[in-house]
């Protein structure tokens, strides 16, 4: 036992902090950073709401308002929503698999450092007054060299490259871990639904994110080395940017939503005290969503004047997503219906999620209609729609997941009473604040306007929206305060406070650096409900970091894989990559010279530590 501790523990102090490859520590710092970003983005949102709550508001001028919504959108999508889902995967996947770490431990450390690079890339310039000000999409030619002087656009574009490389690294890691490191007996058919969700979201990430990296690189090339991709006068096309951006942008929504589906399913299952109803139907609907999601991007471009036939196809395809999504809603409700539900805070979040997200889903059907979208797109109706989908559909489940797994991560329970207060404030405030925006949109209020005249009659509902948002932000503060206080004062939770069905509840709370003393063996879909005692296999090395690798379909043990230990090279490589990205804003040569330190960092990272050669021309010769 203590030998395992010695093998897996990080060095104490700051050196341990920078070198750790413990997936739990990495996920924790991801989540702390995300919470900070969420707070900042929320403050920006509140600031914008204050500006809009009265007609001809004077709190902000156009420049500040444009910076605020650009920063809010970019932060929420690239620095909060996607990373937090990756973070939950990094934290939870090995625990739910009964594994000791992720497949590529150093890659997850690298992923976090690069993500942090993206955070600094956006927010340090903001502190210096160099804020991207063209929205979270930055369409050319507005973002091209002719209309966006200076480096604001470049900063935005490179921030995306940072976060996308980080997300891709995390996704490859999660996919390899889920496919190759499942415990003995956990065949694909017995895989918990959350892992399916994480697997599918990660695969979607792998196919979707290259598009945005490509398109932002093309934009930077247009600005830096004068390529002509997006200038009509040079044979380029401004819509090319939109096609590529939305080829990523639409799946992006599902990359955020699919893990949330996993959270909801895990919570519903645990608190209804029965396995998820329709497990196979749920997996199939996720798979169909993930495939459909790549065929829908044009529905973000109905107003650009593409051929009608194409619009008809994309209308039908977009609406078709309502079928799998609707079936999932039914499966959750049916699980609660036929279960023995207990309504603790995580379950309340699920109820809040269903009540809120379904509104977003239904307004999504409205905007999926090509002709009707021409009235709704780029208005506050769409603002309401995607906040219902992203906040109601992803952030609410995330908060539920946070309450559900908090005792596992910290060993303490959060206060139920304050949990309910936060729930009521956030869900109530959100609906109060965002529902009126549907009506504002139907009254003709366009998006991204920094002010409006009193003659438009939009001020009453805008004031209501501001009040609701403020209540919601207050609830968010209560949630975070509850988490902070409970960290020190909460009731000790024990390993399994909720009586959960999946393997993470068999580990101590908080889990030790090696997670599980022995490798669990799985015999069904809800392993902890099937036996009171946990069947395990012994034999993984206690004195060296080892993980078990099993076969992809049947999870039959194949071999014991050496797992990389702590290393500073992921950090140094990330710093080198950051230097290259930052430099590339100023000169194209940075890309070439910047490769050198990156190469050195990567070589040392992957340098296998073994004895010197005793054969061959370069063998060490005995003295």
């Amino acid at each position: 036992m203590s030998r395992l501790d010695d093998t897996w523990a990080d060095k104490p102090g700051w050196w341990g902090f920078v070198t750790t490859v413990d997936h739990k520590r990495i996920a924790a710092r991801y989540i702390v950073t995300v919470v900070a970003m969420l707070f900042l983005a929320g403050m920006l949102a509140l600031d914008m709401r204050l500006q809009l709550s009265v007609a001809n508001g004077t709190r902000m001028g156009p420049q500040l308002y444009d910076e605020s919504f650009s920063l809010h959108g970019s932060t929420m999508l690239f620095l909060v929503s996607v990373p937090v889902m990756e973070a939950m995967g990094i934290w939870l996947v090995p625990l739910m698999l009964g594994a000791r770490n992720l497949a590529f431990p150093r890659l997850s450390a690298f992923s976090y450092w690069l993500y942090l690079g993206g955070v600094l890339m956006l927010w340090i310039p903001h502190a210096l007054g160099i804020t991207p000000d063209l929205g979270w999409f930055e369409y050319p030619p507005l973002s091209g060299p002719g209309y966006a002087p200076g480096h604001r656009v470049d900063i935005w574009a490179q921030m995306i490259t940072f976060t996308e490389v980080a997300a891709l690294a995390a996704s490859v890691n999660v996919v390899a871990t889920i496919l190759k490191m499942r415990p003995p007996g956990m065949t694909l058919a017995r895989m918990p639904f959350f892992l399916w969700a994480m697997l599918i979201a990660s695969l979607m990430t792998i196919f979707a994110l290259p598009a945005v990296m490509l398109v932002t690189s093309m934009l930077i090339a247009d600005r830096l080395v004068s390529t002509q991709f997006f200038t009509p006068a040079g044979g380029g096309d401004v819509l090319l940017f939109q096609h590529l951006f939305w080829f990523f942008g639409h799946p992006e929504v599902y990359i955020i939503f699919v893990p949330a589906v996993g959270f909801v399913s895990a919570i519903v299952e645990a608190f209804s005290r029965r396995p998820l109803f329709g497990h196979i139907a749920m997996v199939l609907s996720l798979l169909s969503i993930s495939v459909l999601a790549f065929g829908l991007w044009v529905h973000h471009m109905f107003a650009v004047g593409l051929p009608r036939l194409g619009n008809d196809f994309y209308t039908a395809a977009s609406m078709a997503i309502a079928l799998p999504a609707g079936m999932q809603i039914f499966c959750w409700i049916a699980t609660i219906w036929s279960g023995r539900p207990r309504f603790a805070t995580p379950m309340l979040w699920v109820i809040g999620f269903i009540a809120t997200f379904v509104i977003g889903g239904l307004s999504g059907i409205m905007v999926a209609s090509a002709p009707l979208d021409l009235q709704l797109t780029d208005t506050y109706f769409v603002v309401a729609h995607f906040h219902y989908v992203l906040v109601g559909g992803a952030i609410f489940p995330l908060f539920g997941a946070f309450c559900y797994w908090y005792p596992k991560a910290t060993g303490r329970l959060m206060s139920e009473r304050w949990g309910i207060v936060a729930f009521v404030l956030i869900v109530g405030g959100f609906n109060l604040g965002f529902f009126p925006m549907h009506i504002l949109g139907l009254e003709g209020m366009p998006r991204r306007v920094y002010t409006y005249g009193p003659e438009m009659g939009w001020d009453g509902l805008n004031l209501l929206a501001t009040l609701g948002s403020a209540v919601s932000v207050l609830g968010g503060l209560v949630l975070v305060a509850n988490a902070l206080v409970s960290y020190w004062r909460g009731t000790p939770a024990g390993p399994d406070p909720w009586g959960g069905p999946t393997l993470e509840w068999a580990a101590p709370s908080p889990p030790p650096p090696y997670n599980f003393e022995h490798t669990p063996v799985v015999t069904g879909i809800a392993p902890l409900w099937e036996h009171d005692d946990l069947p395990v296999m012994t034999g993984l090395n206690d004195e060296a970091r080892e993980v078990l690798v099993t076969s992809v379909v049947d999870a039959v043990p194949i071999y014991r894989q050496h797992s990389s230990g702590p290393s500073v090279w992921p950090l140094i490589s990330a710093v080198a990559v950051s230097a290259m990205f930052v430099g590339s804003i100023f000169t194209a040569w940075a890309v070439i010279w910047g490769m050198l330190p990156i190469a050195i960092g990567l070589i040392l990272w992957f340098w296998p530590v073994r004895g010197r050669a005793t054969s061959g021309p370069l063998r060490t010769r005995a003295r």
């Binding site: 996919v175 190759k180 080395v225 040079g234 034999g539 296998p608 054969s615 370069l618």
Partner: protein, 205 residues
């Protein structure tokens, strides 16, 4: 449930090997993951090229020279030929042949350098600059993307070769050589559609 859960031993893993080769190895899957990412990038870049070609009445636009066939031909033939020793190296890595992986990676490094030189001349004969028009930009996008892959795999092979000559080779390193060989095959395969796009599509259109 606050008490730690009791466990029951049903088997032992200590008899398992410490490595495997091919798809049974963990790293193979990471490698595939990155190939998928980069493959998607290639596909999208090819999409960009075709999209821009469709937007323009003439491709290449009037006045632009067609890319030269000589050096690209040399590069293409050389690249295809380099996959023969590469596949041999992959097989020898599965057989855990120390001599073969050492000299094989050295050979692949030399071939890689030769190909990089050919690529350098190829880039001189593309006939258009990236900042001339959208055709030039799309062309260079594909070329830069592929060249980056050639160079990174060359660097990887060279470092691997140096390591193999100077260290005792373990099972995981044979797997690394296998993954590196797979990656080179990926670089070779990715080039064929790009070659058609860059050199033949403008001639046929």
């Amino acid at each position: 449930m606050t008490a730690p859960r009791a466990s029951r031993r049903v088997g032992d893993l200590s008899g398992l090997p410490e490595s495997a080769s091919g798809p049974r190895h963990l790293v193979w899957w990471g490698n595939i993951g990155f190939m998928l990412i980069e493959g998607t990038g290639f596909l999208l870049a090819a999409g960009v090229y075709l999209y821009l070609a469709r937007q323009t009445p003439r491709w290449p636009p009037a006045g632009d020279m067609l890319p030269g066939l000589l050096w690209s031909g040399i590069f293409t033939v050389g690249l295809l030929a380099s996959d023969i020793p590469n596949v041999w190296l992959l097989r020898r890595s599965h057989a855990k042949d120390v001599w073969a992986v050492r000299y094989g990676t050295a050979l692949m490094t030399i071939l890689g350098i030769a190909l990089a030189v050919a690529r350098w001349f190829e880039l001189q004969h593309l006939g258009v600059r990236w900042d001339h028009d959208a055709y030039g930009s799309a062309l260079w996008l594909l070329m830069v993307l592929h060249t980056t892959h050639v160079i990174t795999d060359l660097g990887d092979t060279a470092v691997l070769s140096v390591w193999l000559f100077t260290h005792q080779v373990g099972d995981d390193q044979f797997a690394d050589v296998g993954d590196n060989a797979n990656y080179w095959s990926f670089v070779v395969l990715a080039w064929l559609p790009i070659y058609l796009l860059v050199y033949w599509v403008p001639r046929w259109m």
